[in-house]
Structure formats: C-alpha cells, structure tokens
Symmetry: C2
Subunit: 356 residues, 2 copies
C-alpha cells in the first residue's frame, strides 16, 4: 500500500506536472495540505522535504512553499547558482575591477555573484563565512582577512574543506589549507621596483608596508631582498611597518622623523598606490617636492595614478584579469575539473613621481 | 518535574555559561547529546532550537552546532547584522561609488553588506531576492531590475512587505509598492540639459534613451518636455529608444541613418555617460568631430568624463552621496524610525563635448 507521505508526494507531483501550479507559484500551506490529504503536519513536511530534494518545490523561510523550475536539468546543479565572494573591500580602489572581471565570467556561465565585505576584520569574516555557508553557495572566492595573522576562523575553513565546497583564494592564501589561489608575484615585483630606484641612484630608500596582509609582507620581503643584494648600502634602508587598522597619522609622524634626518630618504616605496597617494599629499603639505626632493612609488597601477600630480610610478596588478582568471578557475572547480594556482607577474610602470 | 528537553537546555546552558565551551567552539553532535542526556533526537532538536532562539547556540547547515556570542546584547539584534543590496550592476560605472557610500555608513553602524547583482534580468533578481530572504537580512536596499517593465517577482516583494523587512529602493522604485526610495530628479535634469543645448542654438537634437528602466523613461520625458515648451521646433527632435539587452550596433545603425539625413542632428543627448562615451567613439569612427560636427552630452558625471577626449558635458548624479543617504535611511528604518524618500537634484556640468 502507498504510504501516507508517498500519497502526498504523488498527489503534489501530479498537480505540478499537470500545470495546476506554475513555476514560482505559491503552493497551499502546510495546514491546507494536512486537511486536503488528511495527514499530520509531520507527514506533510516529510513529503515536502522529498519534493524539495527532487527540485519540484522550494521553500522561503516564513514565506511558504513554491513550485521550483522542475523542467530544468538539476543533475549538475547546486543551490541557486550563486558564487560567493568574500573580500576585504569591494567598492573602492582596485576591487571593483577585480569583481567586474569575475562577474563577466561567472555570469556568462549562468552564475550570479553574492558579495560580502570583511573590512579586513576577522569577526566580520566569520559572519560572512557563516552567511555564505548558510546560503549554500556553489563555490567561494575569498580574499583572506589580515592574511599574515593567525586566523581565528580556521574552524569554518576546515568545515568548508570537509564539505568539499569549491574554494579559491585571491590576492593571498592560507598556505596550510592548500586551497588554490590567484595571486601576484609581490616579492619579485617589489624587488624589481627597488632595483629600478637603485639604478636611478637612490640609496636611502624608505619602505612603508602593511604587515597584517601577506601581500604586504611579501612586498616588504622584496624590498629587503633588493637591499640584501647590495649589502654595502643595506644599512641606509629604512622601514615603516603598519597594520590596516592604523591611522595614517601614525605613519605620517614616522615619515616626518625620517625626512628630518641628515641622511633623509631620497625615495619612498609604498605598500600600494592608495598609500602612495596619501604619502604624496602629506609630502606636499610638508613643502617637499615629488620627485625633486623625494621620489615616490606605489604598487597596483590604480586607475587614478596617471591623473594625479605627479603621476605615480608603480607595479601593475592584473585587476580585471585576476577577476576573469579567478572566475574561470571557479567555474572549472565547480565542474570538477582540476586546476592550478596562478601567480601573475607585475610590470614596472614608470611615471613622473620617480623621474626628475 | 523538569521536562526532558528542559533538562537538556539547562544542562547545555550551564556548561556554556561555565565556560566549558567557548564562543564559536563546536558543541557535541546531536547523537552525542542524545547519549549524554538519554533523550530522543527530537528532544535534542527542540532544546537546541530554543537555545538558538536565545542566542546561546548557532547552527551551520551540515556543519554542526556552535556556541554563540551569548554575552552580547541581542535585544536589538537581527540576524548577522547583514544588509542586503540587490543592484543591476555593482562593479563598474557609477555603482562602486554608490556602494562605497553605503558601506561607509552601514559599517560604522555595525552592519555588513551582502551584495547581489541582477544584470537587469528578472530571473536573476528572483534568485537574489530568495537568497536575501533566506539569509534573513536585517534590511534590503534594492535597485529595481528593468523598472519600467512589469515585474514578475511582485509575489516576493509582497512577501517582503508582509514580513515587515525594511526595504529602500535606489535609482528607481515600484510606485505601487510604496517603499521609500532615494532617487534622482531625472526628468527635470534632462529638461535642463536640453534647454542648455537650445540656448547654444541647437534645434535638431537626437535623444537616445534606455526605456526598460524608469530613469531612462524619466530622462526621455524630460527631453520631450523641453521640446513641448518649444512647439515650433518640436518636429525637428528625434528619438532612439533601446532596451538594456540591445547591442550597441543597433543603436549605431540608427545614429548613422540620422546623421546621413539633410537635417542631421547637431546634438545628441544620451541616456547616460556610459552610452555617451560609446556614441563619441562611434562618431569618431564615422569621421565626425565632437563637438564641431555634433555636440554630445551624457548623464551621471562618471568619474572618467573629464579624462576622455573631448571631455563630456553631463548632469551630475550623487553617487557616493546617494549611497551614504541610502545607508543612513536604512539604519533609520531598521531602528524603527520613520523616514522620507529623497530625490536629488542634479547639476549641469559643461565640458568640451558641447562647446565649440
């Protein structure tokens, strides 16, 4: 004999297949179904649960049950075709271009993006990870938060790993998690930039690096590596290290101290262009000319670099290209293809801020 | 006598309060708790459900139970402090600045953004709405999709209304839903722009407007209204209407036809700057000079306008200001304050593309 819940399943399925309810149309309430089939709430829920698994029905919390797009091929499908992005920032600096690149690729493949921002704060990263897990995204592209510090959300990352959710890191990665990543060869690039300054005759270079992000640490290591190859002048190098949560004022005070010394730096290399633009502003306030008194270089080739005065020397960042690459790799991961990490090689872009 | 499930609640609560499990630490599995308290799975689930409501526990789908930040004041709290943004685009044109503005304000108020993009497609809007409802966001800021067309997702908007989720529209709104909105006075602004061209002596103006968005329709109405006030030359006006899904080629063909006529337009006003930039490019390919052969104007004061050649005459859009305003109104809504819709008044920015 047909069990009670099987009777509800067969009844509802028949009505849906017959077109009594259209796709996205609301189905009767649990209570209505209980009355219609003369069964308990438990039986209705069990039936609905199975129909949900078979993509005949979807539920909205507090909103009822609806007819799913059952004619679609769900065999290779995952929830809602959403790809989650968790990034430290999303709406300024180079991030819009990275996200634009991702969006182009994943949207062509029939996916939508769902973005969440951590402001480089671990508590917000935790919230984002929980939301994404609960939304059951098909895959996750993550820019790590304060990637150079121990991550208190490692339990959630482990959970993601156990659940086999496709994950790709961008800009930086947690090495011990062994997730693939799309990054920039930060260390080699910074070394190239400092070597270029050496060739211009600069020996007293001040490096200012954000050290709670792996990129910052890598760029700083590149700065150090360049000096290590010129040990005779290594003692003339200067470093300022800061955290993303530090105010610029703190950095400004240190720049002031450095510039007031007898052997003041003749060049300043900055963690990124965002910082370099602030540094140039500050130097102007201090009545110092760039590049006449001090050369300044950044990193990332920010869109605005060529329009500021003086225009900024920098190392490129792939931005949109990183986005399209990450998007393509994520689609590959979702489709079960094996992928390899990608590390882009930046190029030097010489502009007025380092050329007298 | 203490009921079974009350015994589980009290036991777990005691252990959490005593610090046996730290915040975010994983709790024993359902099966382990069944064994520990000698109760059924149903009893464990009921107990856990109550502890979840009281913010002692949170659950991750397929990942188990964890200790919630129970010392926090949850009285005025809603799920995860997330504000959902559903926009047609998020990572290019003027959208990053709007989102940046929102992010500044809501993040100061302790909220995070979760963004979803519809690409001006109703099916994707539906997916976004369902995800946001399932994530139980504290509020929703929505830019309507193809706002000038009937919306097949009205059932979900009704649901949102029934659930009293705070909703704010930006750029456009569905008038019959009576949600508050932050918009731009598009019609009056476009009329001002056309009047400025009249004053320069232009009488044959071609207007190109996207008509599946309310903004586009309003701007077109402004173009028409300007001519209505000069009925003697109204017959010299020309209009091209397009949909967001149309290729630019279609528009280009129509421009070519218009420019080949004896009384070719001496000026072109475009739905927005994104379109105006494409139009200028196309005119250059056709060996026409801007503004010598034909003046071109846009709308939105896109960041790049001043850097393109010739620089573009446009009407301003508040962008970051719209974002901060929308963010502030959303926080007000969440906190139960009554708010009023805001409509910004754009200003004319005259640049080289209309000045001979």
């Amino acid at each position: 004999m047909e069990s009670k819940y099987q009777r509800v399943i067969n009844g509802l399925k028949k009505e849906i297949l017959a077109g009594k309810y259209q796709v996205n149309e609301k189905l009767p309430t649990e209570s209505a179904l209980m009355a219609q089939y003369e069964v308990s709430r438990y039986t209705v829920r069990r039936a609905v649960g199975e129909l949900e698994n078979d993509h005949y029905i979807y539920r909205i919390q507090g909103g009822g049950m609806f007819v799913q797009d059952w004619q679609k091929d769900w065999s290779n499908d995952n929830n809602q075709h959403l790809i989650g992005i968790i990034a430290t920032h999303i709406a300024d600096y180079i991030f819009p271009q990275i996200i634009y690149g991702m969006d182009q690729v994943v949207s062509e493949a029939g996916y939508s993006l769902m973005l969440s921002v951590t402001h480089n704060d671990h508590e917000k990263e935790r919230r984002s990870l929980i939301s994404m897990l609960n939304t059951q995204v098909a895959g996750l592209i993550i820019e790590p938060t304060q990637s150079a510090l121990p991550n208190p959300n490692m339990d959630l990352y482990q959970k993601i790993k156990e659940q086999n959710i496709p994950v790709l890191f961008i800009n930086a990665a947690y090495p011990n998690l062994h997730f693939p990543a799309v990054t920039t060869k930060d260390q080699a690039a910074e070394q190239q930039l400092v070597n270029y300054l050496f060739k211009l005759g600069h020996q007293d270079i001040l490096g200012i690096f954000q050290i709670d992000d792996i990129q910052g640490v890598h760029r700083m290591n590149g700065f150090v590596a360049a000096y290590q190859q010129h040990p005779d002048i290594a003692y003339r190098s200067r470093l300022i290290m800061y955290q993303s949560s530090d105010d610029f004022d703190k950095i400004a005070t240190q720049i002031k101290t450095a510039m007031a010394q007898a052997t003041a730096p003749s060049a300043i290399v900055c963690y990124n262009d965002q910082l370099a633009i602030k540094v140039i502003d500050y130097l102007k306030q201090q009545h110092l000319s760039v590049p006449e008194d001090v050369a300044v270089a950044g990193f990332d080739d920010y869109q605005m670099d060529q329009y500021i005065s003086p225009s900024l020397t920098t190392m490129t960042h792939e931005k949109e290209g990183m986005g399209t690459t990450a998007g393509q790799l994520m689609i590959d991961l979702i489709n079960g293809r094996s992928i390899k990490s990608v590390a882009f090689e930046p190029n030097l872009v010489v502009r007025a801020s380092t050329q007298k």
